[in-house]
Symmetry: C2
Subunit: 147 residues, 2 copies
Amino acid sequence: MSDTQLKSALDTLKTTGVRITPQRHAILEYLIETMSHPTADDIYKALEHKFPNMSVATVYNNLRVFRESGLVRELTYGDNASRFDFVTTKHYHIICESCGKIVDFHYPGLDEVEHLAAHVTGFKVNSHRLEVYGTCPDCEEKATKLQ
Amino acid sequence: MSDTQLKSALDTLKTTGVRITPQRHAILEYLIETMSHPTADDIYKALEHKFPNMSVATVYNNLRVFRESGLVRELTYGDNASRFDFVTTKHYHIICESCGKIVDFHYPGLDEVEHLAAHVTGFKVNSHRLEVYGTCPDCEEKATKLQ
DNA sequence: TTATTTATTTATAATCGTTATAAATAGTTT
DNA sequence: AAACTATTTATAACGATTATAAATAAATAA
């Protein structure tokens, strides 16, 4: 299944005239197979045994290429490093404020909010961002144990 | 009305034992009276005629104090500068992807999303963030004129 | 095939928002 | 007034990201 995802992603790149280099292949592969939401540096470190000479800039450059092709979503967090997410189905994120863990959850699209916002402000709406913040079960348990 | 907002904000600070310095007063005043969502640097520049010797660090320090007191909300945008918003009523933001303008809009709290997320992931939920992205009327008009 | 053009990678320096640090100043308490 | 504490200022440092230029690889033309 993740194999077909990779193939389809490579196809998308090919049809838009983006060359598939070994580095790009590896970054995509890693993004698909990992269940985490890695930073650029995570990816860089995960692949350094395979590409000892790869530059961080290459990771950033290619993540931008993937983002522009719609294959990857960038999750930005203020001063902290962005996290990157291979786009599969539409989902939202819940983030642990204690350890930073990001977990996916599904929710029917909030079309209503978009419509209301468009109506009230006169904007032409493109998209929205929704994130939920809290404490994950692990951190919650640790916190209660300490008391 | 913004006068009572300022007074109540100063009260909040006083009761939590935070000193009210001229700089803090001015920053709060500016945040309340401006209808924009300024960056730390915007605030710094807006007040430099009044406080020629004020340091940028002072602006950042005090915005952090205000945030921790719950008076101010920080809106983070990846690599770009954070924007700061005096907390009045609960509202969401719609952001123009062309010029960066931020406009407020109201929407009944998305409690349902929080509940679902908590249920599905086992997290203890604290808050959420929702933003809508699009093009503001001004930029939309400019875009159509160019064609 | 070889030559030429173009895209990509690498290495490194630069940028920019933000924070840390330490000295100077102002305010509070004794 | 003296001692203590909070705050401001000035400046250096940090860390994520981007810009730059040279080196390399791939694609196309001759």
